[in-house]
């Protein structure tokens, strides 16, 4: 084969074409960029800016620049530390439950059995429900007067009178976690199922010939193959749990007392109830940084050697 185009001529043509493509791309992307600037980049930067001022809407004329006071005040605020602790409890409980349940369900759905497709479809329903709808549904279920949970347990004779479930300081955070887990398990299951489906069948055959029993096959083949999917689930669900707001807003409003006063709720109260925008913005930044740091740690520890 002979190529009649000289290298330099071809290079020029490529460059021209590339330049043309880039200009076109920029043109098409511009509207999206403008919108993104307006709705994402600007608010992010503006809230950083706000976090250096003491802004209370109740005193709109006094907005002094206070350097890092909003941040330092935060760490001396007792309720802030309570909310951190509540968030940690909620996240650890939910994410572990999600990981374990999704693992079991994905292993189940990876088996061939009659009705597997129907079951998979039904399992997806919680995923399709919006967070607010999910929260309202669980508000009904947990209701002290007409809730399904009370009804069920009463009819089964587990309780002899209706309980005010969400009024119990010791149980609230776990009940909310339960509602959260119910909603999150389907997506986590699918993420794990994808890695399960990708395992070649002959690996298991090879391991059987090598003398590995069912547990050894699970630990030497299945688990390592699920690691990337597992990491994804941990990161994603941790970020969702740390920042979760809807359930706390609809079910308990942080109560009873401060039993479900998580960080996101704390930020909401500070910003929109106390109308203290500066410190609210500062807290949001703390939350964002924590989320960021956690994902980094996950990727570094779990992500190694994948």
């Amino acid at each position: 084969m002979t190529d009649t185009v000289s290298p330099s001529g071809r290079g020029r043509r490529l460059r021209q074409r590339f330049g043309y493509d880039e200009r076109n791309a920029a043109l098409f992307l511009a509207p999206v960029m403008v919108v993104l600037m307006g709705v994402a980049v600007f608010p992010i930067l503006y809230s950083l800016y706000l976090s250096f001022f003491r802004i209370k809407l109740t005193r709109p004329n006094q907005t002094p620049f206070v350097w890092f006071d909003n941040y330092t005040d935060l760490f001396s605020n007792e309720l802030f530390w309570v909310s951190v602790w509540r968030t940690v409890t909620f996240s650890v409980v939910s994410v572990s439950a999600i990981a374990v349940i999704a693992l079991l369900v994905s292993l189940l759905l990876n088996q061939e059995f009659r009705g597997r497709r129907v079951l998979s479809t039904i399992l997806l329903i919680p995923w399709a429900i919006p967070y607010v709808a999910n929260a309202l549904m669980w508000k009904w279920i947990y209701d002290s007067g007409y809730g399904a949970l009370n009804g069920l347990l009463y009819q089964l004779d587990f309780i002899d009178k209706y309980m005010i479930w969400l009024g119990d300081q010791d149980k609230t955070i776990f009940l909310i976690a339960n509602a959260f887990v119910w909603k999150e398990v389907p997506l986590a299951t699918i993420l794990l199922l994808v890695s399960l489906k990708a395992i070649p069948a002959d690996l298991y055959q090879a391991a059987r010939v090598d003398g590995a029993n069912i547990w050894q096959r699970f630990f030497h083949i299945t688990l390592p193959a699920m690691k990337p999917g597992f990491m994804l689930v941990m990161i994603y669900e941790t970020m969702m749990a740390i920042r979760h707001f809807d359930l706390f807003f609809i079910l308990t409003e942080g109560g009873p007392g401060d039993a479900s006063h998580v960080l996101s709720w704390h930020i909401y109260v500070e910003t929109f109830r106390n109308l203290s925008f500066g410190s609210g913005a500062a807290m949001s930044y703390v939350l964002a940084l924590v989320t960021f740091a956690l994902s980094y740690i996950f990727i570094r520890t779990l992500g190694r050697r994948i």
Partner: protein, 366 residues
């Protein structure tokens, strides 16, 4: 030490597909058996039944004298090499090779010793710390072999182990596998759809089609004395040529094959086997290489036609040959110069003819 015997073995998959039908096969200890057949004919199914990876629907499978139909894979003392190699992606080469020993609770230093020994033989000792993803295809192949070797199994099962390698490597690995068999002194059952591999490696070849064994025999048996047209067609490159015709004038000592103008005087050795079969419809088989151009002459052994295509293949050339509308392929020396459209006469080696019953396709000769 394993003699492996199939006695009337059937395999029906759960969807009702009948993959292996009435399989009878006696594999001797230390024998190199090759299961040969087209894709989907049931070779892997058969191998998996030996390994214990597939249930046996009916019949008996014996290792030595013991029936092992229900023995799980790890009780059968077999090792297997898969077409995809099936290396554990998250384990190092060392751990891949040693996995079977570890599962069998072999002491650590013993594992260490045997893995290093096998790796040394396969010349992959410098790769022991790598992961499969960091190896070339040929290196993965060797790891897969090593994983089977260290087990020192009673039987070595291989399912198309070379089919993912490039052509040159495939041929050099054939030699290595043959050497491995010699060194290991153990039973090998090897699955392939590649006739050349089968002919090179096997002590005996089992030709299968549609789940049915067509013929069992040495490479020489299979190639020189095919039992039916399927076996005859499956081996040989280019494939054997068939000409349908009739047997004439048989008195037990002379016989003639005729189709129209074409006639072959069959040698006495063949005629003797035909007995009195005057007028019988037969299918004559001529292997592509069993013709000679230079010796053209003797009537009753010549086939005439027009050159349709010429395919040089390095050492030889394939001649596409038009015989009254039927396309035949012959393999001739490349010094023979022909042009497309030339009329040529080729003399056929009559002693190497094959004759099959036209309807059943079964051989009439052996």
């Amino acid at each position: 030490m394993a003699r492996i015997r199939f006695e009337h073995v059937e395999k029906k998959y759960s969807n009702g597909f009948h993959a292996v039908k009435d399989l009878n096969l006696d594999i001797q200890d230390k024998e190199f058996i090759v299961l040969l057949g087209p894709s989907g004919c049931g070779k892997s199914t058969t191998l998996n039944m030996i390994a214990g990876l597939e249930d046996i629907s009916d019949g008996a499978l014996r290792f030595d004298d013991e029936i092992v139909n229900f023995a799980p894979p790890h009780r059968r003392d077999v090792a297997m090499v898969f077409q995809s190699y099936a290396l554990y992606p998250h384990k190092s080469v060392f751990d891949n090779i040693g996995f079977g020993l570890k599962m069998r609770k072999v002491p650590r230093d013993e594992i260490e010793r045997r893995v290093r020994e096998a790796a040394g033989k396969l010349e992959i000792d410098h790769l022991l710390d790598r992961r499969p993803s960091q190896l070339s295809g040929g290196q993965r192949q060797r790891v897969a072999l090593g994983r089977a070797m260290v087990r020192e199994p009673a039987a070595f099962l291989m399912d198309e182990p070379l089919s993912n390698l490039d052509a040159a490597l495939r041929i050099s690995m054939r030699a290595e596998i043959k050497e491995l068999h010699r060194a290991m002194q153990t039973t090998f059952v090897y699955v392939t759809h590649d006739q050349a591999e089968a002919l090179t490696l096997a002590d005996r070849i089992v030709v299968m089609n549609d789940g049915v064994v067509q013929q069992i025999g040495t490479p020489d048996d299979i190639y020189e004395r095919p039992k039916n047209t399927f076996v005859a067609s499956f081996l040989g490159n280019p494939p054997i040529n068939y000409i349908d015709g009739q047997i004439e004038s048989t008195d037990g000592s002379t016989a003639r094959f005729r189709r129209g103008d074409l006639a072959f005087d069959l040698p006495a050795s063949i005629a003797a086997k035909l007995g009195s079969s005057h007028g019988r419809e037969v299918r004559l088989g001529i292997r592509a290489e069993d013709v000679d151009e230079t010796a053209a002459g003797a009537a009753g052994s010549v086939i005439r036609g027009k050159v349709n295509s010429i395919l040089p293949v390095g050492s030889d050339q394939f001649l596409g040959f038009d015989l009254a509308g039927q396309e035949l392929f012959f393999r001739v020396g490349k010094d023979l110069a022909h042009n497309l459209g030339d009329d040529v006469a080729l003399s056929v080696d009559l002693n190497r003819l094959h004759l099959f019953d036209k309807d059943s396709g079964e051989t009439l000769l052996w």
